[in-house]
Amino acid sequence: MRWTLAMRLLVRNWRSGEQRILVAALVIAVAASTTIGFFTDRLGRGMENQSADFLGADLALVSAHPVNASWLHRARVEGLQALETLEFASMVVGNDDLLLSSVKAVQDGFPLRGKLKTARAPFAADAVTDALPQAGEAWAAPQVLTTLGLEVGDSIDVGEYPFIITRVITFEPGQVRDPLGVAPRLLIRMTDVPATGVVQPGSRLSWQYLFAGSDNNIAAYRRWLEPQLESGHELIGVKEGRRAVGSALERAERYLGLSVLAAIILAGVAVAMAAKRYSERHYDTSAMLRCLGASQKDLLGLYIPQLMVMGIIASAIGCLLGWVAQFGLLYLLADLLPASTVSAHFWPVWAGFSTGMITLAGFALPPIIRLKAVPPLRVLRRDLLPLPLRAWLVYGAALVAIVLVMWRYTDSWPLTLSVLAGGIGLVALLSLIAWLLLLMSQRLNTRVGVAWRFGLNSLWRRARSSISQIIAFGLTLMAMAIVTLVRTDLMTTWQRQLPADVPNHFAINVLPHQVTGFQTFMGEKNIDTSQLYPMIRGRLVTINTLPVREAVTKEARKNNALNRELNLTWTSKLQEDNHIEAGRWWVPEDTGKALVSVESQLANRLGIALGDTLGFSVGGQQFSAEVASIRSVQWDSFQPNFYMVFPPQVIDKFPATYMASFYLSQEQKSLLRTLVGQYPAITVLELDQVIEQVTKIFRQVTLTVEYVLLFTLLAGFTVLFAALQSSQDDRLYEGALLRTLGGSRAQLRAGHLAEFCALGVLAGLLAAMGTECLAWVLYSEVLHLDYHFHWLLWLIMPAVGALLIGVAGFWGTREVVERSPMLLLRNQQG
């Protein structure tokens, strides 16, 4: 019975439009959460697919020996595609000339992810292909052809077998991991390998096993495989394989999480405000119902089911809108999204729905519960109010809701709790500041015109509600500001990382006697070239005189740096994108001293500290150097970078080749032919494809970030309107009173405008303070961006606040001057 009555009341109240704001706020919260959930899930997986295109697979296992055949069998049983490829270095012969080439033998189906790109001639336009070399054919990197003076159609010998070169290979998934470590590529069929006779016991080989399949299958297989790996095995997943884009993606993911959180909390605040007003408008009804004999339980039995049904309906609408909205976004981003469509998972619906219900319970339940405490005597004395709810109930419920939602997005208790503690402290501090600001504005009161006096007085008279409005608006502006600010700084950081003239070519194997000629050539052609760095291949053999394998942890033994030769260099000038984290960079006196600067991630993994002595082996000669600095390196900057850097005159006795990076526009590409013609030994690596891929991912992320920002802004506006609505009843009554006392409409409007502008300025100031504090924490702790003081914020925020809240308030209170004062006063009295 109660249920039927509750539903009937719900329908009747709905017709009168009372719950619409509450439902709208909730719909926005759920729609934001669901859209972003769907979208980031799909885009995130789409981006992982692109990274998989990079890797050529979802998972790759690299090994120096063939692995147990049962491993591949197991992968196929688990529903994965599995392929093996073989790489080996071999001297190839063409035109009676020799070249060290990196030969890769592949099977049908290669690559499992992404596409090969080929061209008809070196440096000619390339295109995507699904084909592979036929038996007896080889595809060669441009350097093979230019170095050996061959053309497509010529013959090239690998071991004992002559291959015909049929295409030039320009992009190969999986090759970008270490472009400098790879000699120019020759791609052949696996079935042709035995005929070459190159693969003998003791040959240095690298087997790569590629796997692709659904996320779950890959994860399950990985769990099965990992414990069986031995030293010499290296497993590369999509995340490990995307070093170039890794940091950008991680920051973007954190940013998206942050924006969703901001949107949901803002919508929660709007829900709380709307629920409070809904509750206040039902005091009379509750008193009347109590008068007619309804018990407290009856009242809860009438209102809570209404709230629940509203929540379910709003959440369902929100989910539906979210689902539709993500299609819109996917459509808009269609050009950028990977062609392989990623189907939608169901979890965002579930997550959106639970977000809706949690938000409703946390923010709307306390004011609704208050209805049961309305005294029945209110039917005779309208000034009687229910006892205020205990603060712990109101804030406790909201906090629990926030914690739950936050935990879902951060997936980390320490982070959730520390952000929460910070948040509570911030709100307390903001309340104090809001009160002080209000007090200061009150002082101005005697020095301003009548409209401003009316407005400022009005703020002061409702000090409590003004403070909560200043905080609500302040937090809203703050959320909007922080999300915008972070977006701008993320973009700037990315753009700085990848400017239009980011080096897109590396020249390696420049011989010492060619250095001057190379520099002159580049100078004459006006090509922007980096410093030329000497490159010496060497191995790290001891740490503090202990053989390196004994000196490091078991885990670190798998590290690639131990298994292959490293590029060593020397320079007196610290590279621009490097940063000394410990120790110091070379001073002129260090020249000739046995010192070395180590890259920080490698130092970390191998447990190398400042002052340690490292032993190196170069071409069979041993020498040692003391670690003088630990250096962070921005690996995704496309500049030449090194793990080990020595001061001048320490390792220059060893034979070195030189390398440099430079930028060439598409029109300048033909210069490469001239360069390679003049210096046939120089190998030029083209990174255009890699850069294009990275740029494309950044563009996608940028667009996503902008859409997410839109939702946060939308949620912010609901707060704005809910807050205006919450003080509407008081304002209507006061406005009516003032008009009966002879106040003109113009005076009232000017007063309202002044009041809201003042509110906006105060909220803007508060938001500027909060934004600076929060940005500082976020930048340094979460997003790892450089923090700088945003002085412009202190001008813009109050102005934006005044404009936004002034206009919205002015528009929202137009009813105050339009409705008949007689009617309003009678209603208020009755």
Partner: protein, 227 residues
């Protein structure tokens, strides 16, 4: 039907405590119609609130039928109200989101009675609003709204009806009609009627008149009798 013993109400104010009612002893029989009159601030509405169990006295007792209201908690008193009491207010107190019919159905629905619609429709016919069943309060005139309130008050056939200035918001002619309706129904249903009013004409229609001055009963007499 209604008994009070030494009933007092004292409230604390900023300037000290204030006695609103002092030593009220009353006995109201079933079926009686009693008017409580007095100037503004004499304590009429406070007394009505106490008699109906909407508020608790500072001292003394209120008995409604066989219930001692002071002993009951707020939910207990609500139950007594649901069982025994109907209300008519000066400001009508209709729920604006409900139609006339739905407003009248409400107390029946709260009591969990069957066929609330049928009974409510009957009552609205009785008060002459058969054409107005689906109208919302704001679509009705003041007199019509008060008739809906009267229908709502009588629909549960309460033993006692409390009315607070039922004609206070109405013009004379409409007020007169409302008075006729109220007393007509009162007689039909045999309800005990307690009404608070300024309106001497209305008070005269009651069988007994209780006058309050500064929170004390200064006269309590049957209409037509001599002081």
């Amino acid at each position: 039907m209604i008994t009070t013993r030494n009933l007092s109400k004292r409230v604390e104010t900023a300037v000290g405590s204030l006695d609103i009612l002092t030593g009220i002893d009353l006995e109201i029989e079933a079926g009686e119609a009693v008017a409580i009159v007095g100037v503004s601030g004499s304590g009429k509405s406070t007394l009505l609130g106490l008699l109906a169990g909407l508020d608790l006295p500072s001292a003394g007792d209120v008995f409604l039928s066989h219930y001692r209201l002071n002993e009951l908690d707020e939910d207990g008193r609500a139950k007594v109200r649901a069982e025994l009491v109907g209300f008519v207010f000066q400001s009508f107190q209709l729920l604006s989101s409900l139609t006339a019919l739905e407003n009248v159905m409400l107390p029946l629905e709260l009591k969990g009675e069957k066929n609330p619609q049928e009974k409510a429709t009957q009552l609205l016919h009785r008060v002459g609003l058969e054409e107005r069943l689906t109208h919302y309060p704001k679509q009705l005139s003041g007199g019509e709204q008060q008739r809906v309130a009267i229908a709502r008050a009588f629909v549960t056939e309460p033993a006692i009806l409390f009315a607070d200035e039922p004609t206070g918001n109405l013009d004379n002619v409409t007020g007169e009609r409302i008075i006729e309706l109220l007393f007509g129904l009162n007689q039909e249903k045999g309800t005990t009627l307690v009404l608070v009013t300024h309106d001497e004409h209305l008070a005269d229609r009651c069988g007994r008149l209780i006058r309050l001055e500064a929170g004390r009963i200064t006269s309590n007499k049957k209409n037509g009798s001599i002081d």
